[in-house]
């Protein structure tokens, strides 16, 4: 809390409602996520699910091929699944903040009586999920390198492409999470499943764990309307370099065009999510849904 206090005292932060809300919400989110267990149990909990998820794919692959190896398609599947941990956590993290504040802690009405910036509050609540997911990705990729001989050469990784595409991808994901969080404010049923439904859809259509070429031709275009598809492709190329499996669907995209597309997606989604959040908040207040406790 001392560190948070120091950050809050910085002149830039003191002048900005949005930044103060964002930092406080990030700290609150971290406390909610982590303070129910001792650090060791929390670490096991945080890593067990993503690790099991990637191990399912490793076993599937080894059952069919007779042993997981360093073939390009294995690296494609493994890294795609590892990076996708961020997608699920960030997207669902923001919408879950609405659910837990409204239904579980029942504090949403109190929150909206404070002078906070709601948009930045929800963004901040997603940060803890981002941190946990980031650590999980690092561990899962590390395990892949050590135990499954992923062809990762740290000297050969295109770091600028990796960091640029990942930063842009996360911005788009946060905006998508905000849109889902805004929708959650207006929903009385099935809000539990909304984040999972979108994350599940993206898992299928973004080519996270199989190349888009495997999808039936009629479904392939769906993948191109999501930023996640471009981010995963760019991040895989950055990490694997010439070892990356290239499939016809993305062969015509250069690295620069992937980054360009991600910039456009990021800008559009941030602007849209900001308007959509305001509209949803107004509608939730107008319909009396803002502090609804459905017990659904």
């Amino acid at each position: 809390m001392k560190t948070v206090g120091r950050i809050m005292d910085l002149p830039l932060v003191r002048q900005s409602d949005g930044l103060r809300t964002f930092i406080t919400a990030s700290w609150l989110g971290w406390q909610i996520e982590s303070n129910w267990a001792d650090p060791l149990l929390f670490a096991i909990y945080s890593i067990a699910r993503p690790l099991a998820g990637v191990m399912i794919l490793v076993v599937m692959y080894s059952v069919v091929t007779g042993g997981a190896g360093p073939e390009p398609v294995f690296a494609y599947i493994y890294l795609g699944n590892a990076l996708y941990i961020l997608v699920g956590q960030v997207i669902t993290g923001v919408s879950w903040a609405v659910i837990s504040d409204r239904e579980h802690y029942r504090t949403l009405r109190q929150l909206y009586t404070t002078p906070m910036n709601g948009y930045f509050y929800l963004m901040g609540r997603g940060v803890s999920k981002l941190i946990i997911a980031g650590i999980s990705v690092l561990i899962v990729v590390g395990i892949g390198k050590i135990f499954f001989h992923l062809p990762l050469n740290f000297a050969a990784i295109n770091w600028p492409l990796f960091f640029a595409s990942t930063a842009l991808g996360i911005i788009s994901l946060a905006a998508l999470g905000l849109i889902l969080g805004s929708m959650t404010m207006m929903m009385a049923r099935h809000f539990w499943s909304l984040g999972d439904a979108v994350a599940g859809g993206l898992y299928l259509f973004s080519g996270a764990i199989f190349p888009l070429d495997v999808l039936p031709a009629a479904l392939r275009p769906i993948g191109f309307i999501f930023p996640v598809t471009y981010w995963l492709e760019a991040a895989r190329r950055a990490l694997l370099g010439p070892q990356a499996a290239l499939f016809p669907t993305f062969a015509r995209f250069s690295n620069a065009s992937l980054v360009g597309i991600l910039i456009v997606f990021g800008l559009v989604l941030i602007v849209f999510s900001s308007f959509f959040y305001r509209w949803s908040l107004h509608r939730a207040k107008e319909k009396g849904l803002i502090d609804m406790e459905t017990a659904y």
Partner: protein, 279 residues
């Protein structure tokens, strides 16, 4: 009927009426409010489809598509166990229903039984839809063995599984926020060790043997052996042996639920935690 003209059930009738009263909202809710169809069948179909396409990407034999489809359908039961059985008494405590259960004359064990019956109908409906849709979408063909044996395996698996759910419900009753986190934790790791997306023998004998404590491991393995008879090397253990182990697990878990409920109810009452609400 007593002096007041109100019928009062006793003994087994009280047990059965209590169980039915708890099962009723789940069964009726399944058919009355159909909006769940979109979220609770589409979502698992999407997940199942992703794994089917992984197998296609690595040129797996067609039977593997069937393995994923059957595993994907069975996930409905496991999620029901975690979220609508194990965590249910914790939710009920949070919402204030548990105290009503406790002060009513109906046995709490009957409430657990009702939750199980209702949950079985609810998730059975979901599983059937997921299985039908996925089978149609991916053109899965089954080479079935003995259908009566298949029916027996399914029923005994469900008895063991829901017995386990009833036992978990009692154990989770004394948990706080941990209940939610434990349920969350028991998803992907269980999909992995129970072989939801591949034959469980792939994780090795001892791994599969340890995972057999979860009834779906052996149940799913036996169901796959009976649905895909074309591959005699598929199974972890012979179907008859798996059926026997599942029957033993059913007895252990249902009795375990009864003992755990009595013990934890007593601890909860003594420590004043039975109806406390912590957030």
């Amino acid at each position: 009927m007593n002096d007041t003209g109100i019928y009062k059930a006793k003994g087994f009738q009280l047990f059965w009426r209590t169980a039915w009263a708890r099962a009723y909202p789940r069964i009726v809710g399944t058919f009355r409010e159909r909006s769940w169809l979109f979220f609770e069948t589409l979502l698992p179909v999407l997940g199942t489809a992703a794994y089917v396409f992984v197998y296609r990407a690595i040129n797996a034999p067609p039977d593997y598509t069937g393995f994923v489809v059957v595993g994907g359908a069975m996930i409905a039961f496991w999620l029901n166990i975690l979220w609508n059985m194990a965590s249910q008494l914790y939710w009920d405590k949070d919402m204030g229903n548990l105290e009503l259960y406790i002060i009513s004359p109906g046995p709490v064990m009957a409430i657990l039984m009702g939750m199980a019956i209702g949950g079985l109908v609810m998730s059975g409906t979901r599983a059937l839809i997921i299985l039908t849709v996925s089978t149609f979408l991916f053109g899965v063909t089954y080479q079935t063995g003995s259908l009566p044996l298949l029916g027996a395996v399914f029923l005994v698996t469900m008895a063991a599984l829901y017995g386990m759910g009833m036992m978990f419900a009692s154990l989770f009753l004394v948990s706080g926020r941990e209940a939610w986190h434990i349920s969350n934790l028991l998803q992907e790791p269980v999909y992995l060790v129970s072989g939801f997306y591949f034959p469980v023998k792939a994780i090795g004998f001892w791994g599969a043997a340890a995972a057999s404590l979860i009834p779906l491991t052996l149940g799913l393995d036996a169901i796959r052996q009976l649905l895909f008879t074309g591959d005699p090397t598929l199974g972890f253990l012979p179907v008859g042996m798996e059926l026997g182990i599942l029957a033993v697990l059913a007895v252990i878990f249902i009795n375990g639920a009864r003992l755990a409920l009595a013990r934890l109810e007593e601890i909860g009452r003594r420590e004043g935690r039975l109806i406390e609400r912590r957030r």
